[in-house]
């Protein structure tokens, strides 16, 4: 499975892990340009001092969480509510960590501490896409280099993009506010993960339940949707393991 513009079938040994990581990251950065700039402009439009709102970028390194936290603060919400809402939205980070842990077990511990800071939606999606490739993304060292390179590149780009958005607030044209850029990028990182019926079931159930649960407060819809999707994936897996497949019918 290849991600992000690499020619299908190119042997992984041809490209070094950091060159591949930078290539994959650049595609995501270009995709996040509108979102990062718009988010920066949104941060600057709150009654918080510009630099405080921007500080959410290095502190949280996740656009959705920053938006939740800063807009709640702007509305005068209490500290406990802001922290609770942001952490509910971020509960998926626990799952991301657990999902990456088997691939990170052989990394030196200090790099796992640093890797934790860098873990956000596109970094997780690129890394897991790479590590689940038929060659496993190379050995432990190649995986570490790939993960850190993607993480550091995207993290630095995010600070610059949101900072530029804060400074350019009010200058950005209306048509530039492309709300769909970030979800479309995540959709394109999701597509390579759909490698079998269980994965389709997980994504479809997660999406459908999250969509019907959008009215829930504190971003709980995302948590409920993710739980339903995981349950659907586990159920389809178990059902397929119990039902013997007829000869010659491929999986997926």
């Amino acid at each position: 499975m290849s991600t992000c513009g690499t020619t299908p079938g190119t042997p992984a040994t041809v490209t070094s892990p950091h060159r591949r990581a930078i290539k994959d990251s650049v595609a995501v950065i270009v995709a996040y340009l509108p979102f990062g700039l718009t988010l920066g402009a949104t941060l600057a439009s709150t009654r918080l001092p510009g630099w405080v709102a921007w500080a959410s970028s290095p502190l949280l390194f996740n656009g959705a969480t920053q938006l939740v936290a800063v807009t709640l603060l702007d509305g005068g919400a209490g500290a406990v509510l802001v922290v609770a809402a942001a952490l509910v939205v971020n509960a998926r980070m626990l799952l991301y960590g657990a999902s990456l842990a088997p691939y990170a077990a052989e990394w030196p511990r200090r790099w796992r501490w640093i890797g934790g800071y860098l873990m956000t939606d596109p970094v997780y999606a690129l890394a897991v896409g790479r590590f689940r490739a038929p060659d496993g993304g190379g050995g432990a060292r190649e995986r570490l280099v790939y993960y850190l390179t993607v993480g550091v590149t995207l993290c630095l780009a995010w600070q610059v993009l949101t900072g530029a958005g804060v400074l350019l607030a009010g200058v950005l044209p209306d048509w530039f506010q492309v709300d769909l850029a970030a979800p479309l990028t995540l959709l394109l990182l999701l597509l390579p993960m759909l490698t079998g019926r269980a994965a389709y079931a997980a994504a479809a159930a997660g999406g459908a339940v999250a969509l019907t649960a959008t009215a829930l407060p504190l971003g709980l819809g995302l948590v409920v949707g993710a739980a339903a999707g995981i349950a659907a994936g586990v159920a389809v897996d178990a059902w397929r393991r119990r039902t013997p497949r007829p000869e010659g019918v491929p999986d997926a």
């Binding site: 405080v52 998926r92 999902s99 934790g116 769909l180 339903a228 897996d237």
Partner: protein, 103 residues
């Protein structure tokens, strides 16, 4: 700067959740190992569907149609080219054109 302190608290909590399983990196128990492969598709599906289909919190014609058109375009372009930038910018162009129709 009380707002900055709140953001620092959110950042600390977020880091704790990111590191909780990644840093110990213990082998997952069998029940957990069955669940983990579905995390990526389930969470990304749950992130993407509401953002594309109910961009302002509700399903409306003007909000939903551009999202559906863009998602379908992204999927088709990705199938043909396997290129994230091509599929993304094709889909964004479709979204802008569709949004303009409903304006």
């Amino acid at each position: 700067m009380p707002e900055l302190l709140v953001l620092v608290a959110v950042g600390a909590g977020t880091y704790a959740m990111r590191a909780a399983f990644l840093v110990p990196a213990r082998p997952a128990p069998p029940a957990m190992a069955r669940v983990l492969p579905h995390v990526g598709p389930a969470v990304l599906g749950a992130l993407v569907a509401p953002a594309l289909l109910a961009p302002h919190g509700a399903v409306t014609v003007a909000g939903t149609v551009p999202g559906v058109v863009a998602a379908a375009g992204a999927w088709l372009l990705w199938r043909r080219t396997r290129s994230l930038p091509v599929a993304l910018f094709g889909a964004l162009t479709l979204a802008l054109l569709t949004t303009a129709v409903f304006r």
